[in-house]
Amino acid sequence: MPLLEAVDVHGGYGGMNILNGVNMTIEADEIGVIVGPNGAGKSTMLKAVFGLLTITQGEIRLRGEAITNLSPHKLVEMGMGFVPQEKNIFPSLSVEENLEMGAFLKPATASRLKAQIYEFFPPLLEKRRQPAGELSGGQRQMVAMGRALMNEPSLLLLDEPTAGLSPRYMNEIFDRVKTINAAGVGVLMVEQNAKQALRIAHKGFVLAAGQNRFSDTGEALLNDPQVAKSFLGG
C-alpha cells in the first residue's frame, strides 16, 4: 500500500481553485519531488496534503486511509511532519526548545530524539541554548527539519528546503534528506533547484497550471528532453 496517494485533487483558497486535478503516489521508502514553474501550484499541493487549504474535489490517502481535509493537528498525530518554506522556526525559543516543540505530542521520547537530531545536525548541538532566530539560514533550516523529525513522522513534507541557501548548504540539506529517507521516512518536497532535487528523487512530479504535466522517476524526468527543455532550463 502506498504511503501517500493523491487522486485528482482540486482545491485552493477562498473559492479560487489553484489545483485542477493533481495525482501523485509515494511509497513508504521514497523521496517525491514536486517541480514546476512559478504559480504551478507546487507549494499549494504540499499545503493541501497537510490540510492547510480546502480540497474541493478528489481524495488524499495516507497508508490507504482517507485524510482529505483533515486538520493539520490530526495529521501530525497520524505521523505527518511539515516544514514550511518561511517562518519555519520559533525565533525567540532556543534551538533545544524548538526541537522540544516538535515532540509536543510525544514528550516521553523527546530527550532520546533530541540526542539523535544533534547527532544528525552537529552544528545545532553547540548552539542548542541560543535563540533559533539568531542562527544562519542553513542552521535555521536544520532546526526546522529537526523540529519536524522530533515527531518521528512517516511522511515528511518539505517546502523548498534549500530556498535562499548557499550551494554548500544546499548540497548538505539534500544529503540530509537522503539520509532521513534512508532511515525509513517518506519525503515529499517542493524544490526550485529542480535538477539537483530530481537527482535524489525516486519520483518526480512536474506541475503546471495546477495539473501534472509529467510524472515519472526522478532519473527519467532528468533524461526526458521535453522536461529538460521546458522546465529544467535546457
Binding site: K87, I89, F90, P91, E97, E100, M101, F104, P107, N151
Partner: protein, 332 residues
C-alpha cells in the same frame, strides 16, 4: 537623615508598591496580546472582578485567615483566582471565541473587549455597589514602624505592602519557571512566536488559549486584590490603572513578559517621582541658600491630582520614539 527616610517611605516604598501592581497587570495584558493578538481593554475590570470575588468570599468567611495569622483576603485569594480564571475562560468562549472563528481583525476584538469591560463594570456595581469597602473586613491593617538608629522618623511599612512584595516575587518567579521549564509554558511562547508553526507541530492552540486566560485571570485577581488591600475596594479603582498598565506593557515591549515587569516598575517609579515633593529633600540646606532664593513649600513636578499624565506622557513618548518598547516587542 530624616529626609532620606522620608524619601524611602514616599518614593522607594510607594514606587515599588505601584510598580508591583502595574507589573502584574502589564504581564497579563502582554500575555493576552502575545497569544491572542489584541489589546485586552477589559483587563482592568477583570482585576476588579477578581477583587470582588475576594471581597465576597471574605465577607462570607471573615475569620478564615485568623488561624494562619494572615488577612482573610489573602487566604481567599487562590479561590478567587480560580473563580476569576473560570469567568475569564467563559468570557472568551462567549464573546471572543466566536469572533476569532470568524477571523475578524484585531480592532474588532479590542472593541469587543471594551464591550466586555462595560458589562463587567455594570455587574460589579450590581454586586458591590458604588462605594468603597475595606478588604480588612473584621481586622486591622498592621503597620510596622522600623526605627533607624539616630533618626527620629521611622521607616513605615504596612502589612499589605509586605504581602504585596512577597506575592509579586512569588508570581514573577512562578511565571518565569512556567514559561521556561514547563512543556505548556514553552508551547505558549512557541505560539506567541509563530502560531501557524505551533499548530503544525501538533500544539493544541485552543488549550494554550484557555491556559492564557487562566493565567491572565489569576494575575488580574492578584493585582486587583493587592491594590485593594493597600487602599480599599472601589469599583473603579482598577479601571483607572488601565492607562498606566498599557503604558507599562508598551514601554516594556508588547509580548515580552519580562519587559512588562520592567515597564511596570518604570512607570510606577516615574509616577511616584513626578508627584514627590522634592522641597523636603532640600530643607536641610535651606539655611545655606542665598536669601533671594526662597525654597517653595511644594517642588513636585506635577500635582498628585495630575498623576495620570505621567504614564500618558511616557506612552506618547515611547510610541513616538521607540514604538517597539525597551525589549523590541510587537507594535500594537
Amino acid at each position: 537623615m530624616n529626609e532620606l527616610i522620608y524619601f524611602f517611605n514616599y518614593v522607594v516604598v510607594a514606587g515599588s508598591v505601584t510598580g508591583c501592581i502595574y507589573a502584574i497587570g502589564a504581564v497579563g495584558v502582554t500575555l493576552i496580546y502575545s497569544i491572542l493578538r489584541f489589546a485586552h481593554f477589559a483587563h482592568a475590570d477583570m482585576m476588579t472582578l477578581g477583587t470582588l470575588a475576594v471581597l465576597l468570599l471574605t465577607l462570607a468567611f471573615p475569620h478564615a485567615g485568623d488561624p494562619l495569622g494572615l488577612p482573610t483576603a489573602i487566604v481567599m485569594l487562590p479561590v478567587a483566582m480560580a473563580l476569576t480564571s473560570l469567568v475569564a475562560v467563559g468570557i472568551d468562549r462567549a464573546f471572543y471565541q466566536p469572533l476569532r472563528s470568524h477571523g475578524v481583525k484585531p480592532i474588532v476584538m479590542v472593541i469587543a473587549s471594551l464591550g466586555v469591560t462595560l458589562m463587567l463594570q455594570g455587574l460589579i456595581r450590581l454586586f458591590a455597589g458604588t462605594g468603597s469597602q475595606n478588604l480588612y473586613v473584621d481586622a486591622r491593617k498592621e503597620i510596622f514602624r522600623i526605627d533607624v538608629p539616630g533618626v527620629t522618623r521611622p521607616i513605615i511599612l504596612t502589612e499589605p505592602q509586605i504581602i504585596l512584595f512577597v506575592i509579586t516575587i512569588v508570581a514573577v518567579v512562578g511565571l518565569h519557571l512556567f514559561l521556561t521549564r514547563a512543556r505548556l509554558g514553552k508551547a505558549m511562547r512557541a505560539m506567541s512566536d509563530n502560531p501557524d508553526l505551533a499548530r503544525a507541530s501538533g500544539i493544541n492552540t485552543r488549550l494554550i488559549i484557555t491556559l492564557t486566560w487562566i493565567i491572565a485571570g489569576s494575575l488580574a485577581t492578584i493585582a486587583g486584590t493587592l491594590l485593594s488591600l493597600d487602599v480599599a475596594f472601589k469599583p473603579d479603582l482598577s479601571f483607572f490603572l488601565l492607562l498606566p498598565i498599557f503604558a507599562a506593557a508598551i514601554v516594556g515591549g508588547v509580548g515580552h513578559p519580562y519587559g512588562a515587569i520592567a515597564g511596570g516598575f518604570l512607570v510606577g517609579f516615574a509616577e511616584t517621582l513626578a508627584v514627590f515633593n522634592w522641597s523636603v529633600l532640600l530643607r536641610p540646606v535651606r539655611d545655606s541658600l542665598p536669601t533671594w532664593l526662597e525654597l517653595p513649600n511644594n517642588l513636585a513636578l506635577v500635582g498628585t491630582e495630575y498623576k495620570i499624565v505621567v504614564p500618558f506622557f511616557i506612552l506618547v513618548a515611547v510610541l513616538i520614539w521607540r514604538p517597539t518598547g525597551i525589549f523590541k516587542g510587537k507594535v500594537i
